[in-house]
């Protein structure tokens, strides 16, 4: 067993997902078979590989430019609850 109920419940908390008991149990089972498959990484020799070298990658930057954005209606068209130019959510700080 690579993963148990407690761990699945802990991960679901981190991911902001609520799993009921049945779902969590099923996920433990599925995860164990997936993680078992991941063991084939053990067969790879990855010793000398440096993940922090980026010799063939260039960073791409551009200058910030001011642009006036007028279409606020469009910006808020997908918000569920608004007041003026604010999006309404429940109280965040008590």
């Amino acid at each position: 067993m690579k993963i148990n109920m407690d761990e699945v419940n802990y991960i679901s908390k981190l991911a902001k997902l609520k799993l009921d008991n049945e779902e969590a149990k099923k996920m433990v089972k599925e995860f164990n078979s997936i993680l078992e498959h991941f063991e084939n990484l053990d067969n790879e020799n990855l010793e000398d590989i440096d993940v922090n070298s980026f010799e063939d990658i260039k960073s791409v930057l551009r200058k910030d430019k001011n642009k006036k954005f007028n279409n606020t209606t469009k910006l808020f068209q997908n918000a569920k609850d608004t007041k003026d130019t604010y999006i309404k959510v429940p109280k965040i700080i008590d």
Partner: protein, 491 residues
Amino acid sequence: MKINEMSVIELRENILSGKIKSEDVVKHYLDRIKKLDDKIKSYITICEEEALDKAKKIDSKIEQGEKVGKLAGIPIAIKDNICIDGIITTCASKILKDFISPYDATVVKKLKKEDAIIIGKTNMDEFAMGSSTENSAFGPTKNPWNLEKVPGGSSGGSAASVASGLAPFSLGSDTGGSIRQPASFCGVVGLKPTYGLVSRFGLIAFASSLDQIGPFTTNVKDCALLLEVIAGNDSYDSTSVQEDIERNYLSELNDNISDLKIAVPKEFMDEGLNDEIKEKVIKCLDKLEELGCEVEEISLPIVESGLSGYYIISSAEASSNLARYDGVRYGYRPDKFESIEDLMVKSRTEGFGKEVKRRIMLGTYVLSSGYYDAYYKRALKLKKKIRDEFKKAFEKYDIVIGPTSPMLPFSIGEKTDNPLDMYLADIYTVTINIAGLPALSLPCGFSESELPIGIQLIGDHFAESKLLKTAFALEQSLDIQTKNPNCKEVI
């Protein structure tokens, strides 16, 4: 010849010369969709009014002799994770079921500039996570060759719409095989371009370091044409290609391929590969030898571990990308909630489907403290190794060839209870995304059960031209276009 049997290039000639009106082409496709898509379910949204409006405008432009774009008046279907201004973009998820995109993706802008007509948005696995299009919140798409079978995924709707003559061509996205595998299952051409060749701006992110948009067409020529239109640098996507890339894909299609060296990784032809698929791939290799190519077997021992690496990296990136869906600014929000935490948890729990939750959980797990080094960091190292292995192969060879999928299209429901089994469907395609290479799935025949089989051609970074001309030569010699049983008559 019926309109839906014409290639994009033929449609283009007929529309430009005034022989056929764009309005008639659009109407023809809309009629077919109305008549047939109840069975296939390849579309989520149909853009009827907008499409007819645009068609009329283009017809009058052509009548008056005005200059029109490369794809003038030709309808195209777009996967529902690519944003179109003013149109609902759902990602086949309940969480985005009423999300109206406020802008165009760069590929859509480019299509509009060339006067293509967007006819609808196609079905997919939710957030592009899946290999069968069964994970859609709007129900599964069916394989046009056999309605009991899956069309592959995640771009199953885009593949099925083209295969069944409900669109002359379409766009999909490919993170681990999501264009190539459905192309293979539906018997159409599907290309995943080099990472960075096509802008991802406006493509709703699944795994940003692997995602790439690409075309579905009935033939290689149309694929070359569509790629010419959508490729190129975009200042809105910093990972898009910075140099000016030559894009003469169409004019270079007929170039000679007799000096090409082709490699076949023995690991791609090993145990686990369906016999009929293997036989068809070998037949293609013989054809390429007849055409003068040199074909050699090589070893690329990264197939099994590549699949693990892929599911670790893609799930990790997905868990981070999908953290934005919290019910605050847009997307699904429950009617009742008690606190901000409750709002977020309920929005996500009620809005996401099973597979998406599984990937978010898996991604959160491999990134969490104590497991990061064991899984995520090792997967990143493997990514470098896979890239190097392919680079080494491309020092000696021009094209790497193997099957697209280890299995024939499977039955609807067959693999939904076993996620690992479903993941294994991607075993030959995921390593290509990890290496950022271009790859094309070409129809190469049929099984005894009359299901399509695809062969996968893999090229070096930005070697799309070589890839397309090889695929074109093979397509011509296989004569698959004329020998296909006409699936449009099956339905």
